[in-house]
């Protein structure tokens, strides 16, 4: 398997086929003598902006502390939760439990549902 071609930037779906963002980054554990391994998938947070420039990541982190669900650290999903890697990456998790949908739920609750006709997110 090739990590950049097959995993990075791919769409993530949970066990109910709910879309939960894209793979923003990958945590790699390295040691002096041991074989490196990919331990976590990263979603959101400053991971994405760091790939462009650290300054953009700092600005994005500052903005997210003022507004929104106040999460600036990316969501970390253990690699052991990866069920399959195909056109999308399927995970054995529930999207809402991971925190990957925090922003989506925050925008729905604080903005969209306050406008007439916006509908309502399902309550869990």
């Amino acid at each position: 398997m090739k990590l950049v071609r097959d995993v990075l930037d791919k769409k993530l779906t949970d066990r109910e086929d709910c879309e939960m963002g894209r793979v923003s980054g990958l945590v790699m554990q390295v040691g002096e003598r041991s074989q490196p391994r990919i331990t976590h998938i990263l979603v959101g947070g400053k991971t994405l902006w760091m790939r462009i420039h650290p300054w953009i990541a700092r600005v994005a982190a500052r903005l997210s502390r003022m507004w929104g669900p106040k999460r600036d650290e990316p969501v970390r999903i253990p690699w052991s939760r990866v069920e399959s890697v195909g056109k999308d990456v399927k995970l054995d998790v529930k999207a809402r439990d991971t925190g990957a949908l925090d922003w989506e739920l925050w925008v729905a609750k604080h903005i969209i549902e306050r406008i007439p006709g916006g509908g309502k997110q399902e309550e869990e």
């Binding site: 090739k2 990590l3 950049v4 071609r5 790699m28 390295v30 040691g31 074989q35 391994r37």
Partner: protein, 102 residues
Amino acid sequence: MKEINAELLIGRKVCDANGEKVGRIEEFRVTNTEKACLVEGYLVGTSALVDRLSAWTLIRPIDKALRGRVFSVYEIPWEQMDLSDPKHPKLRIPKSELRHSK
């Protein structure tokens, strides 16, 4: 053991043990087992970039015309890559000891 962001290694220049430039990291070859996702090697060079973009249909005629001189790739086994400074990855061996992948 330390944690680094694999996505930030993409595009980083790799030098060999003597400081000679080898190429840029474009891809990671991994083995996904039940227990873990292990990194087997790093693909370095323009050919690796073409591979990553699945662009051989377009590039192959150009590669043939240039007699395979421009597009090259090295596969660096994990044990030969020193990532103690992730911003400056380097080989533990000289470039001459590396095998061309293509």
